[in-house]
Amino acid sequence: MILKSSSSRIVISVIKHIVLIGMLGFLFYVFFGAYENLEALYNTFGKDYFSRYAEAETGSKNLVTSILLDYRLFDSLFEAGILLIAVSGVIWISRHEIEEKNAQFMIDKFKTPDLFVTFSRLVYPLMLAFGFYVIINGHLSPGGGFQGGAIVATAILILYYIDAEKDTNINLIVTVEKYIYIAILLLATASYFTRGAFFTNVFPLESSADAKSIYLVVLNVLIGFKVALGLWAIFTAFLKEGR
């Protein structure tokens, strides 16, 4: 390629930046114009329907959980599937043929300060309990399987602060995670046999809120465990890679 002199390169780069800012500003202007227009057109059908009927039809006080686990369960299954695929992909890419790559390092400076270790030991059971609380109460207060699973995963990661050389069996984690995903799929399809429709609550529409919440709690727990195991597996793969 023809070598440009450095001053013309600077000029080109400045022009590029100005054009970029101009384009982004233009998009912002169009977006703003669309937004003003939106206020007149705003259709509240979805909002009204959910606020009026969701609690009665799904047995969950938390509207978000009712949408995630009942109205749009099909989406949530594949969202969980995204996490499953991401975990499997990360494990595959980080897997090497030489099994134990524990080349002894002459200089190994990694040692967690004692303050962190003590603090982590204090915080770990609290975080775990809070995570379980968020999972199980997903249908009554903000939370649910996905959120609680992330919190439980964070709690488990604190264990690595305490003991960095911890030996974890990634294959076991991933296998259990896949079995849980199969269980979720089966539970979601089970509604076809009890209710005649796919991917919704197992209990029929007329049953009490308590009965429906059994299904919601079970599904939340399964999703929570699956998410926690998946995130734990990703973290372990990163930690093991290169040790």
Binding site: L27, F31, F45, L73, F78, F198
Partner: protein, 535 residues
């Protein structure tokens, strides 16, 4: 019976999970059993519903149509479903290895099939987003499956660009939900007549189309395709070029159908986008030396031709584009799988190093020749049919006809260059143990020939389209084809073979990721100016 459509999604996903979990080596036969089950279900489903597509609508959970997620099928989605099943059959046969089973590979492959079949049938915008995202991630992992440096770079480039595209699509979906209160495609399609002129609706269209343009590798956001399809394993490249990129085109069809009441006049704009894609693709393809890069750039250019057909509001042109999608899927997969066999045997990927393929591997050569004749549009093969339909429909405009003619010449040039591999003496090559790959090639080649000759009953029976005005056995067709070949040969001999400086510069032009982003933003801006500001 209507629930078969759900089974088509669930069976591959289940099979994938089972294959991963059970370590017994016989588990790889499960893929064939699952594939057979799905084919039978699809055929029964088609026969049941072929004149009453509206009754295929399923709403999950039996909720109100505007609240729940729904699936629906019609002729277009059924034809895509059959194409998917056929492509995956062939790829499974091609990669089948009786001595070992790569369970992780089959896991990702079958999961991809389930997700793609879901994408084809869904009738809900956010569901489309979820499936698009899932397809992106699965394809990234499959591109990086070889674990070589080039594959990782291509996979990272792919996921960054495509994830931004899908994100822009999501913003469009959010705007639509705010305007309509529902994200069911059918309900929006009916309600859009009244609000079609609004800025927000048009801006949502622009955003959704930008995302779809990235997924379909249109100009100017196609730069991920040559990188990704050129370095992946051949079976994966065949699947990507043949099928997954067509998913983006399928979404283009669906979103356009949804917005048809809004009078957006998008036909001319997307025709020129398609024309630009076709021209740029063929220009790059002619300058490449790596066989898989050549094929990848040709995918870009053929997608441009498809877009020239799909963009028009006239049904016949649209049908030409649709037919070219299927034809391209068949012959491009054939070419990629054949290229894979040749690369494995010759241990090189450069066309100039490959000679004597015809004497060394006659069966593979014959199938590759079938593929090359199809892509250049020879009569008696399937490429001719769709290219002729598009040619007839744009013959009123001289500019458009010349563009199409130029692209055809470029394609001919490039494949004449590639056909040099057949000449020459026989070579000693490594015969790797892959017993069934010839069968996969034969399957695709047969499909090309069948579609090239029996297009009238197939189009009539499946789509109800009358194609008898296209005749294969007339003198004009052959004459035009040989003229194109002759001009292609002259261009090859006098220009390409000498490898002049401009050609080398085109080959070595590698756009950076920064410029790809810049171009993407510019594309969104140009579309908003055209669709939102001007009207």
């Amino acid at each position: 019976m209507a629930f078969f459509s759900v089974l088509l999604i669930i069976i591959p996903v289940f099979t994938a999970l089972v294959i991963y979990l059970y370590k017994h080596s016989a588990v790889k036969y499960l893929t064939f059993i699952a594939q057979l089950a799905m084919t039978i279900l699809a055929v029964l489903y088609y026969r049941e519903f072929s004149d009453q597509w509206a009754s295929t609508l399923i709403v999950f959970g039996d909720w109100d149509l505007r609240i729940g997620i729904s699936l629906i099928n019609d002729e277009i989605s059924m034809s895509f479903i059959f194409l998917t099943l056929f492509s995956f059959w062939m790829v499974l046969i091609y990669t089948f290895d009786t001595r070992q089973s790569n369970r992780t590979f089959l896991f990702f492959l079958m999961f991809l099939q389930g997700v793609f079949l879901g994408l084809l049938q869904t009738y809900d915008l956010f569901n489309m987003f979820v499936f698009l995202e899932l397809t992106t991630i699965l394809v990234t992992i499959l591109i990086a499956f070889k674990k070589s440096g080039d594959s990782f770079r291509a996979a990272v480039y792919y996921i960054l660009l495509n994830a931004s595209g899908v994100l822009v699509f999501l913003i469009g979906v959010i705007i639509m939900y705010n305007v309509f209160g529902t994200i069911n495609v059918g309900v929006i399609g009916e309600a859009i007549d009244s609000v079609g002129e609004a800025t927000s609706v048009r801006f949502a269209y622009v955003l959704m189309m930008a995302g779809i343009a990235v997924k379909s590798a249109l100009f100017p956001v196609f730069s991920w395709l040559p990188k990704a399809h050129g370095v992946a394993q051949s079976a994966i490249s065949a699947l990507l070029s043949g099928l997954i990129v067509k998913g983006g085109l399928y979404m283009f069809i669906r979103i356009n159908q949804m917005f048809s009441g809004a009078n957006l006049e998008s036909g001319e704009f997307f025709f020129y986008v398609g024309a630009a894609t076709a021209v740029v693709g063929v220009l790059f393809a002619v300058s490449q030396k790596d066989i898989k890069q050549i094929l990848a750039y040709h995918t870009v250019s053929q997608i441009g031709i498809v877009m020239m057909g799909l963009s028009s509001p006239d049904f016949d042109t649209f049908y030409g584009g649709l037919l070219h999608i299927f034809n391209h899927a068949l012959f491009k997969s054939l070419l990629f799988l054949g290229a894979g066999v040749i690369i494995k045997a010759y241990r090189t990927k450069y066309v100039s190093d490959m000679r004597g393929v015809f004497k060394t591997m006659p069966a593979v050569s014959i199938f590759m020749i079938v593929g090359m004749l199809s892509i250049t549009g020879a009569p008696l093969f399937n490429g001719f049919i769709s290219k002729t339909i598009i040619k007839y429909s744009i013959e009123d405009s001289t500019l458009k006809s010349w563009i199409l003619f130029g692209v055809n010449i470029g394609t001919a040039t490039s494949f004449i260059k590639m056909s040099q591999i057949f000449f020459g003496p026989r070579r000693m090559t490594l015969r790797l143990y892959a017993p069934f790959d010839r069968i996969a090639l034969m399957g695709f080649a047969f499909a090309c020939v069948i579609l090239g000759n029996f297009y009238i009953p197939i189009s009539d029976g499946f789509f109800g389209v009358e194609l008898s005005y296209i005749s294969v056995f007339n003198f004009d067709a052959f004459f035009d084809y040989f003229v194109a070949l002759a001009i292609g040969f002259l261009i090859y001999y006098f220009i390409i073979k000498k490898d002049y400086r401009p050609i080398r510069m085109i080959r070595e032009y590698k756009p950076s990721f920064q410029s790809a982003n810049f171009v993407f933003i510019m594309f969104v801006v140009v579309m908003s100016v055209y669709f939102v500001l001007i009207p």
